[in-house]
């Protein structure tokens, strides 16, 4: 009886999270890399350690590469753990890019870790992470 009441209460207070979870980010990463292993390193992800405004956080991501037809960076993908959805952006390059280096501005809904995955022309995947403390979260304000 007590257990049943406890279960009933549990059902009432169950909340559906409004943000993605680290598990969903893992799934989004897997969708991009497939079953290939992802090694830490080579990717350089630059984000401010503390951001006052989550609506616009400067991000720069780069990979050292000769960017030749035989050895270049194919793509860099950026993911977050706690935004409403894990995907942030995918950049695609070819040897004509010269450098695999891109800057943009992103939104962060929470203090969290951002992950960048680099895809090289030899089929290998590399990653880097950066932790950002966000004081004013994006996505929550009323219009």
């Amino acid at each position: 009886m007590g257990a049943a009441a406890g279960l009933g209460l549990g059902a009432v207070i169950t909340v559906v999270p409004v943000h993605a979870t680290p598990k969903e980010m893992e799934d989004a990463v897997r969708k991009v890399v497939g079953s290939a292993p992802v090694t830490k390193g080579r990717v350089k992800l630059e984000l401010p350690p503390l951001s006052e405004n989550g609506n616009t956080v400067p991000l720069t991501v780069s990979i050292e590469s000769p960017m030749t037809a035989a050895d270049h960076v194919r793509a860099i993908h950026v993911f977050t753990e706690l935004n409403p959805q894990p995907d942030v952006v995918s950049f695609r390059f070819g040897p004509r890019a010269g450098h695999a280096r891109v800057s943009t501005r992103i939104r962060l809904a929470n203090t969290q870790t951002v992950t960048a995955i680099g895809e090289l022309s030899d089929g290998s995947f590399w990653s880097a992470t950066a932790a950002v403390v966000v004081t004013l979260a994006a996505c929550l304000e009323d219009a």
């Binding site: 952006v89 010269g98 501005r105």
Partner: protein, 106 residues
């Protein structure tokens, strides 16, 4: 029509790696915000940005709602020949904008 700004060096040496800066005015409405009455504001974002150099694609970015309003993208390309860099942004609700810049390579 959307306002787009692109910054490409006017001239470059052959083989030099040039930096290209692009900015376009767009709200990048995430689809997760609500009005004060609780109605969900539908998503309205730019989904794709492509840069072509004399017709050859050199860079592309697939954007999601986590890109800040007025998407700003800085990337690089190799100055191979004189010509035109064309930029195209496409998105929700049939959004499409183009911009171009010319470069002289010597």
């Amino acid at each position: 029509m959307a306002n787009a700004l692109v910054n490409v060096p006017a001239r470059a040496r052959r083989g030099e790696i040039i930096e290209v800066k692009t900015l376009i005015s767009h709200p990048m409405e995430t689809g997760y915000r609500r009005t004060q009455l609780g109605a969900r504001i539908p998503r309205d974002i730019i989904r794709l940005f492509v840069c072509t150099y004399n017709g050859t694609e050199v860079f592309r970015a697939e954007l999601h709602p986590a890109i800040a309003a007025n998407p700003f993208v800085v990337f690089s390309t190799v100055a191979t020949e004189s010509g035109t860099l064309a930029f195209q942004w496409t998105g929700d609700n049939g959004f499409s904008a183009t911009e171009s810049a010319t470069i002289t390579v010597e």
